[in-house]
Structures are given as C-alpha cells and as structure tokens.
C-alpha cells in the first residue's frame, strides 16, 4: 500500500527539497532549481512504472479513498509528463526560471492531479481538486508586476471558487441520496431505482459544473482565454493539458462509475454530454477564428478539443473510454509542443500577436517545423497522432449511433483546420522586416520540444501499443 503511493510521496518530498534548496542557494545558482525539479519528477515517473504498477485487479486503498487501477496509472504518467515538460519550458522562460516557489507550486498541483485521477471517494476527490486548483490560481497570477497575469490569476480564482461551490453542493446531495461518499457505493444506491429521475439528473448537472470548469466545457469556458493569455506561457500550456486531463480523468470515472447508465431509464446523461460536446467544439472553434493573439487562439482551440474528447465520453462505451484516454495522451504532447513553441518564441518576438509570427520559418526553421507538426496534429492530419485520436472519437460516436455528432465533429475539424492554417501561413508564407534575426531555442525547451515532436509522430504511426494501453486504462471503468 505504501508502494502504490510512492510517486505521490516522492512529489511531496521533492516539494520540500526544492523549497529548502531555494532558501539555501544564492540567486545565481537557483538556475539549477528547474533541473532539480525535473530530476525529481523523472524519479516519480520511474517509481510509477517500477513500483506502482497496478495488478490485474483494481484495488481500493486507504480505506476506499483511492483506487489503484490502470486508469490511475496512465493518468499519473500523463500528469507527470505534462509537469516535466512545463518545468523544462519554464527553465528557458526567464521571468520564472529561478523562482523556487514557482516549482513548488507546480509540484503541488501535479500531486493534486495525480490524486484526482485516483480518487474513488467524494471527500478525497474534493481535496484533490482543491490541491490542484489553488496552486494553479497562484501560478496563473505569478507575474505580479504584470497586470494581465494578476488579472488572470484572480479571474481563475473567482471562476474556480464559484464552480467548486456548485460542485460541492452536488456532492452533498449525492451523499444525502446514497448515504455514502464512495463512488462505487453511490452507484449501488442509485441503481436501487428509488431515486426520481429529476434528482439524479440534477445532481449530475451540479457535479458536472465543477468538472466542466476544469476542462473548459461550454458554458464554463469563459475563463480559459483570459487566463491563458495572462498567465506565464508555460503555465498556460500546463493548464490546457495536464489540468484539463485531470478534469477528464475525474469526469470519466465519476460519470461511468457513480452514475451508471442502467440507473437511468432511457434518457441519461449521454445525450446531455453529446449536446455539450457539440456546443463545446463549435463555440471553441468558431470563436478561435476571430483571434489575433496566439495564446487566445490556442485557448479557444483547447476549448474545442475538450469538445472532441467529450464526444468519446458521450459514447459511454469501451471504445469511447479508450478514445478519450488516447485523445488525452495525444493532445497532451501536441498542445505542450504548441505552447512550448509560443513560450520560446515569446522571448525573442516580445509579443504573442499572430503578426509577430510572420516569417518565423526563416528565423528559426526548427521552431517553425515543431509548430507546423503540432498544429497539424491538432487539426487532425496524418501521420500525426491527432489524426488517429480524432478518428477514434468519431468512430466511438458512430458506433454509439450518434452519426449527427460525428458530422458536427467533421464540420468543426474543418473550421479548426482553417485557423491553424492561418497561423501556419504567417509562419511559412509571410515576410517580416526582422527575418534576419534568428530565434534561439533554450536547451531545456529544445529537449522538451523534441520529445513532444517524436511522441506526436510515434502516436500517429505506431499506434497499436498506445491503443492497447488506452484500452486497458479505460477498461478499468467497465
């Protein structure tokens, strides 16, 4: 039981180590902190794989607070990878590179996410969500001398607090209905068939409010563009990938285990999720068309991607679950790469306006190539991972007899392609007066970008193993 929590324990220790080292070092040698953090996280990855491998049977640990299964395992790696890449991007981002507390916050937040992915109990779930969110509020507002960053942190906090309150209300009703806080117990109570449909559906909606906020599902997406725009760029990447993945980990676990479809007669939450998916991707994509700031554009694009992922959830099938996990894995590396490029480019370009990206391919062919591949992957073009991920969620929708949803998805994919191409057009086609000024890539960022790039291509070409892992992870839910 101790070993199964070893990765989390590693992170706690790491947080203290970073905090104390930060105090002991002078300003110059603090440049070493991100590498210390990265090394610690790498250690946690290794511990996850070596010591915390789940067995054939899922087990409930710590008095039913956590569930140790393949879903937990896969999401742990997802969060750790996201955090690792974020730390490396931060190392090259001067305004935060040497701030010890910055890394401590990232570590704490990652810890929270890992617990979110494993929670099997409402109390634990709530604690994990808060452990994740509070450091993120601070991180979003971390650049205190920048008004936009402060605004973004505050906005994030207000939205977060509001939706969390609603969610907590839902939790309390769940407890009232079932007399238990354990998700698996709750499922049993709902299955008894004594609860009226309206109260079950109402509870789903209340609970979903909190989760929807985390994944920026329409209509809880309003915070995303402002927060992404203002927060430090590596953190924007972190919010849009790991934090979102944590939200989805919770959504699939809670919806599929605590609200089994059999408990609802006929009309259940799948239709609601399908509509939410259609709205989320359409709103995200359509508003993204009008953006002139790349961080805002990526923010709306990440709203749209939440919509695609929700398609898989709406299917509520094994293929659906699998497609969600696969999509999240691919989306993680892809969006990290995209935000990584933005973080690197921002240092030299001094701006996040799309106009600043004119002629980037002449200033840094490598950076332009990474952006090309990550945006194409987001658009769903083979041989990038995004293509397979999209096909899988579409397939899940078609299999679940929701052809209309797949058609909405297609239309959205085309809109998406359009605005990604607009960015690429600037990068490859437009000229700028500063073409002769190269854009240097800091070494840690280069490492992270290379890993992401390779991952995008590998997910798109050698699919079978990842497909299997996603299947096993999603299988833990059924």
């Amino acid at each position: 039981m101790f070993l199964t929590l070893l990765p989390e324990i590693t992170l706690v220790v790491l947080a203290f180590v970073v905090l104390t080292t930060d105090l002991a070092l002078d300003r110059q040698s603090r440049a070493f902190l991100p590498y210390l953090t990265a090394a610690g996280m790498l250690l946690a990855v290794i511990f996850t794989i070596v010591f915390a491998l789940p067995g054939d049977k899922p087990q409930l640990i710590f008095g039913g607070m956590l569930r140790h299964d393949w879903l937990t395992f896969v999401f742990r790696l997802v969060f750790l990878f996201g955090a690792l890449a974020t730390v490396l991007f931060s190392a090259g981002w001067e305004r935060v590179a040497r701030r010890g507390e910055y890394y401590v916050l990232i570590i704490t937040s990652t810890l929270g996410m890992m617990l979110m992915g494993a929670s099997a109990d409402l109390v634990m779930l709530f604690l994990a969500i808060e452990t994740t969110s509070i450091p993120l509020y601070i991180l979003a507002g971390f650049i205190t001398e920048d008004d936009k960053s402060t605004e973004s942190g505050f906005k994030y906090l207000l939205f977060g607090a509001m939706t969390t309150a609603i969610m907590l209300y839902g939790f309390s009703m769940l407890y009232g209905f079932s007399g238990s806080t354990n998700l698996y117990w709750i499922a049993g109570a709902l299955m008894s068939g004594e609860l009226p449909f309206i109260s079950m559906m109402g509870t789903v909606i209340l609970v979903m409010a909190g989760f929807a906020f985390k994944v920026s599902m329409v209509p809880f997406h309003f915070w995303a563009p402002d927060v992404y725009e203002g927060s430090p760029t590596p953190i924007a990447g972190f919010l849009s990938t790991a934090s979102k993945a944590a939200g989805f980990a919770v959504i699939i676990r809670v919806l599929l285990t605590a609200f089994p479809l059999e408990a609802f007669g006929g009309v259940d939450w799948t239709m609601m999720m399908a509509i939410a998916a259609a709205l989320t991707m359409s709103v995200g994509n359509l508003i993204a068309l009008a953006q002139t700031n790349i961080k805002r554009l990526l923010a709306y694009s990440s709203v749209a991607h939440a919509g695609y992922i929700l398609m898989g959830i709406a299917a509520a099938s094994e293929l659906g679950g699998l497609s969600v996990v696969f999509y999240i894995i691919v989306y993680l590396v892809t969006n990290l790469a995209a935000f990584g490029v933005v973080a690197v480019a921002e240092r030299t370009l001094g701006s996040n306006d799309l106009e600043a990206y004119d002629g980037l391919s002449r200033r840094s062919p490598a950076l332009a190539l990474v952006l090309l591949i990550s945006l194409l992957s987001l658009a769903g073009v083979p041989p990038m991972g995004g293509f397979i991920a999209k096909v899988l969620v579409f397939a899940a929708a078609v299999e679940a007899n929701m052809v209309w949803l797949a058609v909405v998805g297609i239309l959205n994919a085309i809109v998406g392609l359009y605005y990604y191409l607009i960015v690429l057009k600037r990068v490859y086609l437009f000229r700028s007066e500063e073409e002769d000024k190269p854009v240097p890539i800091p070494r840690p960022s280069a490492v992270a970008l290379t890993v992401c790039l390779i991952a995008i291509l590998v997910f798109g070409t050698i699919i079978a193993p990842w497909f299997d892992y996603s299947g096993i992870a999603a299988g833990a839910l059924f």
Binding site: S361, V381, F387, V391, A406, I410, I414, L417, Y428
Partner: protein
Amino acid sequence: MGLNVFAEEIPYLLIITLLPIVAGALLLALPNRHKLIYNVALGVATVTLLLTVLVFLGFDINGDQYQFADEYTWLPQFGISLKFAVDGISTPLVLLTGIVMFTGVIISQRIDDRPREFFAFMFILASGVFGVFVSLDLFMLFFFYEIAVFPMYLLIAIWGWKETREYAAMKLTLYLFIGSVVALIGALAMYFTSGLNTFDMVDLAAANFSTEFQNLWFPFVFLGFAVLGGIWPFHNWSPDGHVAAPTAVSMFHAGVLMKLGAFAALRVGIMLLPEGAHTHMWWVILLALVNVVYGAFIAMRQNDFKYVIGFSSVSHMGLVVMGFATLNQNGFIGASVQMFSHGVMTALFFAVVGMVYDQAHTRQIPELGGVGKYMKIPTLAFIIGGLVSMGMPGFSGFVAEFPIFMGVWQAYPWIAIVAVISIVLTASYIIRIVSKVFFGETPAEIADHLHDVTRSEKLALGVLAFFLVGLGVFPGMMVPMFAEGVRQIAPLIGLGGF
C-alpha cells in the same frame, strides 16, 4: 509480361510508398544548399521511378487479381493492417505517379526559395499518393489520402503564384478536407455495420451491406472522394489550385492527385457499395456530363493560358467519372486508361505552361505569340499533348476516350451524343492556344526574354511524350492490364459486358 527476376521477399510497394516520405524527412535535415538538395531529390525520384517501372513490368496480367501483396499488422485491435497490393487498374497509376514525380523534380530545378522544404513537402505528397494507390486497407487508404492532401496547402501557399496563392491554397485544402472527412464517416459506418472488425477492403467488399445502407451512404462516400476528382459542382477549387500552384505542383495536382479522387471513389464508393452505385449512377453521370461539356466551354473562354489547361482538366476528369458511371466494362476500361493518359498529358501541359511563363512572365494569351520559334521541343510536346487531348487516333487520348464513349453509348445513348460535343470544343481551345501562343508574331515585350529550355527539361518533356505516343501507337503496353483489372472486379460490381 511478368518478368521472373523478382525476388518474392522484396516489399516493392512498401519501399515505393515509404521511400519518398523518408527521403523528405531526411531532406529537412540537410543544409539548405540548392545544388545538394536538388541532386538528392533527383536521385530519390529516379530510384522511385525505376521501382515503379519494375512493378509495372513485373505485374503478370494472367496472374492473381492482387499482386505484390504485402501485409503488416498495424492496429490489429481495430482490424487495421498495412495491406499493400496492386491490381490491373492501380499498377499503371503507380507508374504514372513515378513518372510525374520524376519529371516534376526536374521541372523544379529553378526553385530557389527554400528548396529543401519544397522537395520535402513534395515527397510527402508523393508518398501519400502512392499509399492510396496501393492500399487495400480502407483505413490506410484514408491515412495516405490525408497525407497527400495536406502538403498541397504549403506547396501552393508558399511557392505558388503570388496573386492568388493564399486564396487558392486555402480553398483547395478546405474542399478536399471536407470531402475526405465526409467519406471517412461513411467508412466508419461501413466498418461498424459490417461487424467484421476489419478495414480490409477485400473483406468489406464481401460484407453484403443491405441495400438501404448502400443507398444511404454511397453518395457521401462517392462524392467525398469525387471532390478530389473535380466533379461538378465541387470542381471549383481545382482550376484555381492548378493556376496558383508552382509548375511541378500543378503537374502533381492535375496529373496524379485528381486521379486519386477518382480512384478512391472507385475503390471505396463503387467497389464496396455496388448496389448504391447502381441506384445513384444516373445522376452521377449527369454531373459528369456537366463537367465534360461545361468545363470545355469555360476553357474556351479563358484568356489565361494556365486556366485553359485547368478547366480542360475539369472537362477530362469528367470523362473519367462518366466512364465509371456507365457501370459497364467498356466505360471502366476507358476511364482507367483516361486516368493514366490524362495524368501524363496534363503534366506535360503544365510543364510547358510553366516553361513559357518562366520566360515570358505572362500567361495572358493575347500577350503571347510565336513562342515556338524559341522553344521548339516544348512546342512539339504541347502539340502532342493537344492531340491527345482531342482524342486523335494514334495518341493515348483516343485509346482512352473511344471506350468511354462506347460505354456511355451502351448505357445512355443521348448522353454520349451530348458528351461528344466536348471533343469539338477541346479541339477549338487547343488549336487556339497552339496558334496564338506558339505560332504567329512574337510581341516585342516578350521576345527578349525567350530562349530555349535546358536539356534536362527537354528530357522531362520527352519522357512524358513517350508515354502519350507509345500508348497511342501500341495500346497493348497497358490496355490489357487495365482490361484484366476491370474484368476481375466486374462480377463484384455487376458490370455490363462488352
């Protein structure tokens, strides 16, 4: 023919498909020095061409339906495998792609803006095209199809004609993307409805989909692909795309990519949903008729040399779709030959257009004249292409169009009567170009710029012209292969006989 020099274990099709994309990725890693890049690209293209020639010569028309078969598991959980094989219809198309790739590289010798990226994207495109022609797995077909579509955007947007390239590239990409994803949904529906848990097209063809299912999905799948074949009213992207694209990309685009659409519409639409095809073909042939006649009319009216060729492609691709829509063997054979013949012919046209434009810096027909005095070989090549285009006996166009009109006559006589008007129209616009552009007085403004083309460009034109004349004089070099390919799929689709 069937040469026996082939070691069974060499996976020719796999190499042909992957060589360009791998070479493209490696090119990106080389320093951006023009000569080095060009030589590497030419080497790769030559090797690819030789391999495609080997496959063409090695295809045994008395042998199995699918040859050079290779299978590698890719995603067995989902029933996807890399299953490569060629049949009598796709073998010549693979050769066509090899030819166009080779000549396209030669024609692109003068690209000096970021040649590394240019050739890399072009090779990725080529891999996608090869992949579609040789895939027997529906999913892989899509996979390669999308790979083929995307690089077009960058190739046109970056290296294209400054006036319209951004607009044309975006239009083309969005049109093709819409078409392909619509077809993709159809493919997913087939996959789940069949219940076979496989994307293998040979298995899916035997899945016996219900008539309602076929009638429902055939239009989506067929039109989704036929968009790339330039079918009216979704042809609009194509002339714009042709004109905006740099020469080699126009060659690729009109020469091979449009065949990709027609071929995929045949493979996925007609072969997997034959009953749907029988239900819907009456209106498809009407659309194709509009393509053929209307495309030719518009081509007549153009003042821009390249737009003439662009709309002539729309018209000629209409003949391909029309041939398929007859649902009899004559039509199918003609359509298949037309795919090859038109591919080579239009590549030649665009190559010549590119040469003229490079020197004269204008494509407006009234501003051109007497070009033939300076460029003898391109003029000769263009005239050969023109004769092919008109369907003159002794050239490949005749071998292609005659069976198509025969097939149409068998199926819908009055459509054949209307469609043959296009031959007259074609003759008129071709003759107009030949007389106005290549003969007559040379306007003073362009006379100073004109000079002969380089030896390697002549070689490229020679290769293209060789196939046009060769196939016309000796149809036996390719037609029996097409005929055998069609004969083998005939029972599946329920094609009418000769």
